[in-house]
């Protein structure tokens, strides 16, 4: 497998992990909105589903993107595909 194919395979795997986490917090948990609302886990005292819609999921997305960016940079570095300064 060429260097580029290996790079793309790793990139694709990272995408799948990222999208899996994204799916859980944007769609997955809201399948159980009513059940979660009754849960005794109450972040900052808010009902659980309510908290996820106003803060939880949103904050997880922010962290997820930065985590994704960091991992992708590592993959690019590993295969020497990082841009050089001033290259356009």
């Amino acid at each position: 497998m060429s260097k580029q194919e290996q790079h793309w395979e790793k990139t694709r795997n990272l995408l799948f992990i990222t999208l899996a986490i994204w799916f859980v917090f944007s769609i997955g948990i809201f399948l159980f909105g009513a059940e979660m609302q009754e849960s005794s886990i109450r972040p900052f005292g808010y009902p659980l589903t309510y908290w996820f819609t106003c803060q939880g999921s949103l904050a997880i997305f922010v962290i997820l993107i930065f985590w994704f960016a960091g991992r992708q940079e590592k993959i690019d570095d590993e295969f020497g595909f990082t841009e050089r300064e001033g290259e356009q």
Binding site: F32, Q37, Q55, A59, A69, E83
Partner: protein, 604 residues
Amino acid sequence: MIKGKFIDNLPKVYGIYTGGFLVFIIIMAIAEQAGMSAKMIGIFFVAFTVLIYALIGWLSRTLQTDAYYVAGRQVPTVFNGMATAADWMSGASFVAMAGGIYFKGYGYMALLVGWTGGYVLVASLLAPYLRKFGCYTVPDFIGTRYGGNLARFSAVIVLTVASFTYVTAQINATGTIASVALDIPFEIAVYVGLASILMCSMLGGMRAVTWTQVAQYIVLIIAYLLPVFWISNNIGAGFFPHFMLADEVARIAELEGQFGFVKNSAADLATVPKGLAGITKPHSSVNATPWAFISLAVCMMAGTASLPHVMMRYFTTPSVRTARRSVGWSLFFIFLLYSSAPMLATLSKISLMDPTLATGIIGKSVADVQALDWYQNWNQANLMFVSDFNGNGTLELNEFFMKGSAVVLATPEIAGLPYVISGLVAAGGMAAAMSTADGLVLAISNALSHDVYYKIINPKAETAKRLIVARVLLVLIGFAGATIAALEIQGILGSVIWAFDFAMSGLFFPLVLGVWWKRANAPGAVAGMLLGLISGTAYLVWVRSGGSGFLGITQLTFGIVGASVSLVSMIVVSLITAAPDAATQKMVDDVRIPSGKTILGKQH
């Protein structure tokens, strides 16, 4: 004169700007104490901020194509994040969203999840690859990746439909705010709003829009957060509302149980002015089916990843790596406002509902409420209404009506904050609507001038001529948008949601598969764009004209129909026609790695 040195000094320049704005707020507060009228304060706030944006727009004027189209590709990560956040957060986010949550509760909070979750798709599926491509516009990517003028033109059509739907809502919002703050009729205020928008974008294109958007973000975030914190402290709910409003949320649920949701008769409702609503849904309980919530969130997420005015912001970063990080910063800056919107809705509701608070009106006598100063102001502006339907002299929960936008605009006044805060909120709303309108008008006129005029009609056009065409189109599109906005066909939030569905129907899969599926070809992409847009639009028309719909897909989520048709037709048509040639396959390979030259040259 502004290049180079200006870029190096960005933190300093915007630091001074922020300080200056805070000083301006303090001066206004002192002027209010000294007896300046509420009307003058409103005028000062809106006029002062708009003049600053216009000044930035003028200073950023340019005669170069790469500065006009992509701000010279030198916008640093964090600042691009701020600009994107302002570009993104429109009148709908600033003025209408807290209102939607206030009235509809959980069902509308799907917008919060959808409008943030979409950025994960932008960062992982699209933004870095489109940056590597080096295009000026989104149709530029479609046209070059798939090849052929038909694909390019189809992308322009989808872009125009989606962005134009969106921009009319934004011009409508600038008009609403300008008419309240400057006290002029809405039909005139729409054109005042338009003039301000054009001043920011006409001379400097993307470069001017970038630096005004950063300035607008600073104004809008201060204008949103300051009242939230202030009200929360004022009513003793906690000094950091985001972590401390659990008791208020529980108290609202208790009061809702106590008051009950009484359904008004149709005859009573007919006396309520158009566009005003009462509280009919519980505040924090799960009141929508999982599918209603998830389908709306999915549409907003896919729409986010297909809206050209957002995507083109990531063409302005210096590199692929910064484009990726910039998406994270964008979402962080958006998060600051979005996580505050439900808090504002909570504070607004508790202020009005709780009889133990001085500001509470439910349970008071109707005559007393009608005598309140703020009630009279907002009632005159047709944004608020009370009526004693059951004739008992006491105001019930079902007898109080507000327009969605009033939740943000009027809450500071209701909660007893000085008028200077209301002026600040008006300036913030104006900034939010203007920044988005700028991005949208520019996205449409750039697509028409670059993709239709330069790439299809007259490929030999000189730079000067191209930029003149771009500016003329900008003005024409602005006027067309303002004319339609003045007709007020659909509410602000409704039009914005439609725009996401249109964009998702036509562009989501052609964009994503362009990077992630090498086998995708031109006929497939054209079929995907056109059939997706047509089927989505047909479904919308059918539901709007009384059709029953299927699978619980409403007029707010018709993008699911459009995007499904788009995906299927794109795959089928691609597979039954010839695979893309070797050069195109090589191009996709090059897009997938960050290093090396961009696909399109620096100037094209």
